[in-house]
């Protein structure tokens, strides 16, 4: 019982897969429509087009156009109120042809069963994430990113769960599970547990972050392996980008995960039929669901597929870091409140001891204006930059961003000219108090939404914020503060990430990777609404500039 116990079906699937081994140029829309209709699905297409803010190095053009094709398998007896989605991104070349073939084979098998209580939507999306975003926006009648798409002709009810397939070769040795989604959102842990349980039942090797699970938890090497896996997840979550097509579903409260087939040239190989059985089992389990997955954790970190760290365990670590800021602020408050011991004239003291909130306002406003400049200038002035410098648009954007960032470092000298000779002892205390509270609130909110991002920022910014005063040695602390700034944190994270994935890069490659990461971050923000870039540019960077201001307080 189960998929492909019938040899005819098995042969049909293998035929389909070998046909698809031929490279597909663009998206074979007509062929897909015909094939899906032959399998008894209701087939619809959706056209979309998107103007990119700057041409990506992958796409090298401003306008991206595409067509999504999806077929709906209607549940034989159920009302059309709920749906499940199985998607495979179809990219030009033979990147994902196996997945499309498997999807069509599964569609044919599923069509013959009578126990489906939800509609199943088989989606082949064009241009990866852009097509997926267009389809989701069309399905839910929202338009958050300014994309242009044709409305969907056929719909299936509210989507309960979704899986995205990525298979690049017909020989697969292990299945990798990708959970991290947009803005660090994760699907319900039950979905990961479901995948792992089925892998074990069928006997397929499964991995997370590309790393196999080890059995020796007590030994040092086993422990460090687990820590490395968890750090990889932290890095991926902090980047805020969707690491698979599933990442865009999470925003609509649809539990989704991406399953990648990996060929790591092991001796024991799995074939498409086993993967088909795995998917069939998962879909049957999802079919039996009566409500959305909500019983397990939504916030967790996974050192391996069978272990997880829940929010109750990792939040106190962040809480302790945030407490440092609050204690410092409390200390400053007490210092501000107690009058200085050597005073003679009461009136002068009052004037001196309360510089007022207004004096703090100037550095605040200027820092935020710099942040706004960092957010807006790179995109606005890319044409001007391309005219004057021999760089491509992408490089122009990134280099403008770095330039604005570095220009911000020169601010304190200019700010003080604007200030009406304030440079008092109390002045910087008030500013630091405000900056500490601002940073605490900012990091707290970030950690709630995207814990990894908040934690990494806290690790670097909290020590900087705590120790900086105008009285520490200037050169050394300036150097340390720059090292701990968000941009350098990102640079180190890139190198660290490559190390963790066991693909260390040289400095030059790392630098180029860093530039591409910045451009991807900006692009993600404009295409899917990722919040990392505006957060860093508009909030974290000005906060860091305030501390830079304090360091150079005269």
């Amino acid at each position: 019982m189960g998929l492909l116990s019938d040899p005819n079906r098995r042969r049909a699937l293998i035929n389909l897969l070998t046909r698809l081994n031929a490279p597909i140029c663009g998206m074979p829309v007509e062929w897909l429509v015909k094939t899906m209709q032959a399998r008894g699905l209701e087939v619809y297409t959706q056209r979309f087009s998107r103007t990119l803010p700057f041409p990506d190095e992958n796409k090298e053009r401003y306008m991206v156009k595409g067509t999504n094709v999806y077929g709906i398998l209607r549940a034989p007896r159920a009302p059309r109120t709920e749906a499940l989605v199985l998607s495979a991104p179809c990219t030009p070349g033979d990147n994902n042809n196996q997945a499309v073939g498997l999807l069509l084979g599964l569609a044919q098998y599923f069509r013959n069963q009578i126990y489906w209580a939800k509609d199943i939507i088989f989606l082949v999306n064009d241009h990866d994430l852009i097509g997926m975003q267009a389809w989701l926006e069309g399905y839910h009648h929202t338009n958050t990113t300014g994309m242009d798409w044709s409305p969907l002709q056929g719909r299936g009810g509210s989507i309960q769960a979704a899986l995205s397939l990525e298979l690049s070769s017909d020989v697969v040795t292990s299945m990798d599970l990708v959970l991290e989604g947009l803005n660090g959102q994760l699907p319900n842990l039950d979905l990961a547990n479901l995948f792992y349980a089925f892998c074990q039942k069928i006997g397929v090797l499964c991995t997370i972050q590309g790393k196999l699970q080890r059995n020796d938890w007590d030994s040092v090497s086993g422990y460090s392996h687990a820590v490395q896996t968890m750090m990889l997840m932290v890095m991926k979550q902090a980047s805020g980008r969707p690491w698979g097509d599933h990442g865009l579903f999470l925003r609509y409260h649809i539990e989704a995960a991406t399953i990648k087939g990996i060929n790591s040239f092991r001796q024991y190989k799995t074939d498409a039929t086993t993967i088909g059985r795995l998917l069939e089992g998962m879909y049957r389990k999802l079919n039996n669901l009566l409500e959305r997955l909500h019983q397990s954790y939504f916030f967790y970190l996974m050192p391996s597929l069978s272990h997880f760290v829940s929010i109750g365990y990792y939040m106190p670590a962040f809480g302790l870091l945030a407490v440092i800021l609050l204690l410092r602020a409390l200390d400053l408050w007490v210092q501000l409140a107690t009058p200085p011991p050597t005073t003679e004239d009461g009136i002068a003291d009052i004037e001196q001891s309360s510089p007022g909130v207004l004096s703090v306002l100037t550095p605040l406003v200027i820092s935020h204006l710099t942040g706004a400049a960092l957010y807006m200038l790179p995109i606005r002035f890319q044409e001007m930059a391309v005219e004057h410098f021999p760089v491509s648009e992408t490089e122009a954007v990134v280099l403008t961003a770095i330039a604005v960032y570095t220009a911000g470092l020169a601010l304190p000298h200019n700010t003080h000219r604007l200030l009406s000779g304030e440079g008092t002892e109390q002045g910087w205390r008030v500013l630091k108090l405000v900056a500490l509270l601002y940073l605490a609130v900012l990091l707290g909110c970030t950690a709630l939404i995207n814990f990894s991002l908040g934690f990494i920022l806290a690790l670097t910014l909290v020590p900087a914020a705590a120790f900086v005063t105008p009285h520490v040695p200037k050169v050394l602390s300036a150097f340390v503060l720059v090292i701990l700034s968000p941009a350098c944190t990102l640079l180190f994270s890139v190198f660290f990430f490559q190390e963790l994935q066991e693909m260390p890069v040289s400095f030059l490659d790392g630098w180029l990777l860093y530039l591409s990461v910045i451009s991807q971050g900006i692009l993600d923000h404009f295409l899917y609404g990722s919040l990392v870039y505006p957060l860093i540019a508009l909030l974290v960077y000005p906060c860091w500039l305030l501390f830079w201001n304090i360091l150079f307080w005269k």
Binding site: M1, I114, Y115, A117, R284, N287, N288, L290
Partner: protein
């Protein structure tokens, strides 16, 4: 004693002769001596047995079978209830005397790969749904309120007969509950609970309203024994699938259907009941032995202290079947003499338990001439003491202690 006839007939004597009719037929020609003495002896026996016939316990049987949980993964609870329904129907209780309450429809659930069937054995050996199932309360009608109303008979006048428990004081009722439960409660439909106290009170209402002669209560849930702990009405016998603190486990999953099909206790109960036929002499002691710990993993329990008769003398068919006592005779029996009540002789020679009678429902004379109850005196509690202390403190604060001398 006048004898007006000779008795030839076939007696179906339950207590005097332990064998069935065939045995007696074999006995009769051998031992028959056509003498006056023997005729006299036989007629006395017939009068005694006639006495027994008219002093037997119950005259009709009812069954209330309830499945309290919904959702596809609780398939096994519906299968439990339907298998007991099947046994009860097979042994003779008609649909008009069965109140079947199923909280969800498994047979026609969209997820059922075999629509219109509910299986109790894997590999689809036994379909307990059949084509003549009559469900009286279905879906969201299975609530605690409806269940208690059915038991106590307090239903609105518009309720049809099929939804009523029209039992009288000569009815033996079988009540079977299954679902998810805990220590002292049973969960209905994932949204409400019935507690063991409520259930015990409902049975007491039934006793006071003379709605049952004897009642057998079977429950197959986790910690089921807690549900019969609070019973206090007479003539109740209870069985449960697990003790307090234990979980009742399910039996076996079917890989094609994808869910567990039955609970262990009811599975072995069904196996036991399949061997029972309407003439079977199996008694309650056999029922207590169903599903020992080795098969059930949990420890089934039972309670018989409220039951008047000895469980060993209670037949399974007294509750699970609707067995009529039939005596075919070609002779007329003289019933001019008053029928003597046959004294029950307990097997182990214990003292006869006291007879329970129905309570006087409304002691009007007592109410009218009641004297007011004298309230016991309690020392003032903390609040009053505190209040007075506060008043005194304020008084002395205001006026000073030195004024005390003037007051006292």
């Amino acid at each position: 004693q006048e004898f007006s006839c000779q008795i030839w007939g076939i007696f179906f004597l339950k207590k005097t002769f332990k064998g069935n009719l065939r045995n007696y037929w074999n006995f009769l020609p051998e031992g028959f001596i056509n003498t006056q003495l023997f005729t006299r002896f036989l007629s006395r026996i017939s009068q005694d047995s006639a006495g027994q016939f008219f002093s037997s316990g119950h005259t009709n049987n009812w069954a209330v079978l309830v499945c309290t949980s919904r959702f596809w993964f609780n398939y096994r609870h519906v299968a439990n209830t339907l298998s007991v329904y099947r046994s009860v129907k097979r042994l003779g209780i008609p649909d008009s005397h069965i109140v079947l309450m199923l909280a969800d429809d498994m047979a026609c659930n969209h997820r059922n790969p075999k629509p219109a069937t509910v299986f109790s054995h894997k590999n689809m050996e036994l379909n307990v749904y059949g084509d003549d199932v009559e469900v009286d309360y279905r879906g969201y009608e299975v609530t605690v309120e409806n269940f208690l109303r059915v038991l106590t008979g307090r239903l609105p006048p518009s309720t049809p007969r099929s939804k009523r428990l029209l039992s009288d004081d000569r009815s033996n009722i079988l009540i079977y509950l299954t679902g998810h439960g805990g220590n002292g409660f049973l969960k209905f439909q994932d949204s409400e609970e019935i507690s063991n106290v409520e259930l015990a009170d409902a049975f007491e209402q039934m006793w006071q309203k003379r709605r049952y002669n004897e009642l057998l209560f079977i429950i197959d849930t986790c910690q089921g024994a807690s549900m019969y702990e609070r019973f206090y009405s007479p003539n109740l016998m209870a069985l449960a699938s697990s003790q307090v603190g234990e979980d009742s486990l399910s039996h076996q999953p079917d890989l094609a259907i994808g869910v567990h099909l039955m609970d262990r206790y009811t599975f072995y109960l069904l196996e036991f009941l399949e061997d029972i036929h309407p003439a079977s002499k199996a008694n309650m002691n056999d029922l207590f032995k169903v599903c020992p710990k080795s098969q059930c993993v949990s420890t089934p329990g039972h309670r018989t202290d409220l039951f008047l008769r000895d469980p060993g003398s209670v037949l399974i068919t007294d509750f699970f079947g609707s067995v009529r006592k039939v005596e075919i005779t070609t002779e007329a029996i003289d019933l001019t003499d008053p029928i003597k009540e046959v004294e029950e002789r307990p097997a182990n020679g214990d003292v006869h338990k006291e007879m329970h009678s129905y309570v006087d429902q409304l002691p009007v004379s007592e109410i009218i001439h009641q004297k007011p109850k004298q309230k016991d005196w309690h020392p003032p509690d903390g609040f009053i003491l505190g209040l007075w202390t506060l008043i005194l403190l304020v008084f002395f604060q205001t006026y000073g202690v030195k004024h005390l001398r003037h007051i006292f």
